[in-house]
Symmetry: C2
């Protein structure tokens, strides 16, 4: 859903948020516990969406024209991403001088983001009856070598334009087996590499191929990172208005899509990003309110609401 | 399907075979290559079934009463086994003095069989966003320890009643992963233990629990082995008729079900058991014919066909 003001202001700001969450893990329905709101999505990112909806309802005449974007499929493979579909099919809907993605940052401005790629590491074997296992070669046993490399891997911390990005390489899926009495002839480990924005997707893919040298590695999906764009005047004015010391964004966010469209964009929203996707996901309601007040102050400075 | 002669002979012999195969692996349709018949099921066990069907068609007046049993679901979990269902619901249909299971043995009489059990070895973790992997604990990485133990395991060879049984412990399945951007909180390795007939199912399960000490091990299905019954007079007469030196059966077969019903039973059929379930499954047609001729000679000695 895209909604815009058209007030003839000098500057247009895009406020964007996704509506989907990762799968629930016994953490629905959402529940109150004092000032805490517990449950799937409270951090990632119904809190940020709530801020945007309240601004839309209560700031009809902002000092900058606003474009609100609410979209789907952020938590699945990049090809389905709703913001990406708008960027491909109607890039003019996303036009603006500056964008704020209301992903959870603990209400700290976060610049840029890591890139992400997923790759399938396939391990071959030879099928045989499991009662005569010595006639085959067990692909699942052989995948132990892939897991050994993952366990031994030490991810880098990379400084880009003054901010430090923490990388990661993890198995996010594994599958193997034909039947309960067959030595498996194939095991596939799906890995997710989060890489600093000093690298292109191609460079990141090369790195993953090197780590799993000797195995068949195929890229399944990817999204480039974004260098921090905080030196841009529009970003700097926002940063001055909401305060705090900016830091690097660990997770990939759709800030990279705005970067590709040429607009500086930052992450800024309520909720501890360390609790996103966590079974114990929760947010302080006071933080959602504080975030909304700061945004409102920025968008109404020099005007009444 | 159960079919019986009722000729008032002194002895009743059961000839049994299963009709299902393991999944195809690019090896259908079946094809001829000189005297070789290639394709899924040629060894395990359409060859043996062909022998039985030809005997049923061409030996209307055997010297022993015959019971033919053709059944389904031998290649899946034990609970579905067709012969097992008949044994539970109509054990009288399987009554006999001796049984020949026409599983592939390379036309060598094989006594007894290993037992088999499957167990799920579960490895826990803590879910987190894969961009902030350090907040979670990766269950797939932790499953590397299970694969390490499987790779280090050295299976025993066990002598029982003069025959040597070769054991095996193998992963036959592995599954883990929640979504492409989530550190997985659970990985399950399914293992298959083939154990010599000197052990009960309970003893075999204890052994598997010891191997995977520290992990959550749950038995999913099992079938006891059978000690070789070749000293029994009915088995000895068959052995004398078809010739050769008996050996131990590596794979679990339904011979164990006849053993439970109190009837001596052996495995004897065409096809190299090392090629059962193999992508390169194939059999010599001449061996199928030879097997049928020996069985026919045994069942018609002292009578015309």
């Amino acid at each position: 859903m895209v909604a815009r003001t058209d007030l003839g202001r000098d500057e247009r700001v895009v406020l964007a948020g996704h509506l989907d969450t990762v799968p629930v893990a016994g953490n629905l329905p959402t529940r109150w516990d004092g000032d805490l709101l517990w449950g799937r999505g409270t951090v990632d990112m119904k809190g940020g969406v709530a801020v945007a909806l309240r601004l839309a309802a209560h700031v009809p005449a902002p000092n900058r024209d606003l474009t609100y974007v609410f979209y789907d499929n952020e938590e699945v493979e990049a090809a389905k991403n709703g913001l990406g579909r708008v960027a491909r099919n109607h890039p003019e809907w996303l036009a603006g001088d500056f964008a704020v993605l209301l992903e959870p940052t603990g209400s700290v401005v976060e610049g840029g983001c890591n890139g992400t790629l997923r790759a399938a590491v396939a391990v071959p074997g030879t099928a045989a009856h499991s009662a005569r296992w010595w006639m085959g070669a067990n692909a699942i046993h052989a995948a132990g070598e892939v897991l050994d490399r993952l366990r031994a891997y030490r991810p880098a911390e990379v400084e880009v334009d003054g901010l430090v990005y923490r990388e990661g390489l993890n198995a996010v899926g594994i599958t193997g087996g034909i039947a309960g009495n067959v030595i498996p002839d194939r095991c596939v480990v799906t890995v997710n590499y989060r890489f600093a924005p000093d690298k292109s997707v191609a460079e990141a893919a090369d790195h993953v191929r090197k780590v799993f040298d000797g195995f068949d590695v195929s890229l399944t999906d990817s999204a480039p990172g974004a260098r921090p764009g905080l030196a841009h005047p529009a970003a700097a004015s926002f940063l001055a208005a909401v305060g705090g010391t900016p830091r690097a964004k660990d997770g990939w966010t759709d800030v990279a899509r705005f970067a590709e469209l040429g607009a500086p964009a930052v992450n800024y929203g309520p909720g501890d990003p360390l609790l996103a996707h966590h079974d114990e996901e929760r947010v302080q309601v006071a933080e959602i309110e504080r975030c909304e007040q700061r945004m409102r102050a920025w968008l109404t400075a020099g005007r009444g609401t």
